[in-house]
Amino acid sequence: MHERAEFLAGSLVKLDEDLDREFEARLVETSTLAFRVAFGVLRHQQDAEDVAQEAFAKAYRSFRQLKDRDRFRAWLVRMTWRTAIDRRRSNRRRGAHEVGAEMMQLTAASGFVATRDPAQDQAAELWAAIDTLPDKLRMVIVLASIEGHDVREVAVLLGIPEGTVKSRLFLARQRLKETLR
């Protein structure tokens, strides 16, 4: 009886170790993706890191429940996106981070204020245009721009049909081009 209990406990420990090892591999593989998804919503380095950490903590707690481990990326992306949206809402409620800390050179009163770095100016202009997009279009354009995801991969990540991704991507690009013209 005692040997059986020891065997069972040993198996459980081994199972935990295997899960931890697998999660560690997923963590290394997807940490930058989660950060960039969060950054696409928040445009703030520290906030994006916090949100990515929060999403990974949630994922770790529920990792055993995930039946299909191949869907971990999509699962994590959606979880990070939702967490980032929540964070953005709470930031707006607090009145802070209305404009990302790294984009503080932009002032709403005078419109776009040029800095000495043209690349930084272009980035700020682009982010301002992305901010005008509704969340559905924004999510598609963010995911399509990260790590070279194609339409099929974005559809898998979001769990929606490829046709929907195509139409949303087209709409988002059209609006961005009009804004940045």
């Binding site: 940490s31 890191e49 980035a123 963010v142 721009s145 690009r173 013209r181």
Partner: protein, 192 residues
Amino acid sequence: MTDHELDRRLTAAFEVKPSPDFLAHLRVVIVADPPPTRWRLSLSFAAPGAVLVVAAGIAVIVGWLAGEQTIPSPLPVSVSHNEPIQSVLAVEQHAVGSSASQPRVLGARPRVKSGVAPLATSSLPEVLISPDEVRGFGLLITSAQKATIPAVLPTDDVSTSETLTVPPIDITPVDIEPLPQMARLEQGDHPQ
């Protein structure tokens, strides 16, 4: 703006990288997080545990009900049809021979087993029967056996058949004088 230009700017905008210690922070957060696996495993044992608790509860209730069925019953439910008559006769003979001042309970108080007694009888209250009823019932049965019904029940107490005589009541008439004020008013003497 061309598609190529837009793609280039989008790619450049998302080339942002987390801080170098981001991964280390992530590991710290996850290590600091309470281990989920044990909790999940304990959840998997929760369902069988709940079933065991429910089964134990049912066993306790069934045992308690079985104990309830073995309480003393006031009626001899496991005896044959002739036995109550014999018991009544025995009580009647006993009552005639004694002063019969105390009420008696018919029948013995056997411990009824659950397989014999119906559950409803266990909750019947204990019935006290007066000696007169016992005597009358016994006499009725013996008379029925002899096919002679008595018109009047014999009784030891003769005081109940005596007639009491009530003495006559003498009532003297009472004269009530009218009040002076009322008498004057009747005579037409009005006050000033």
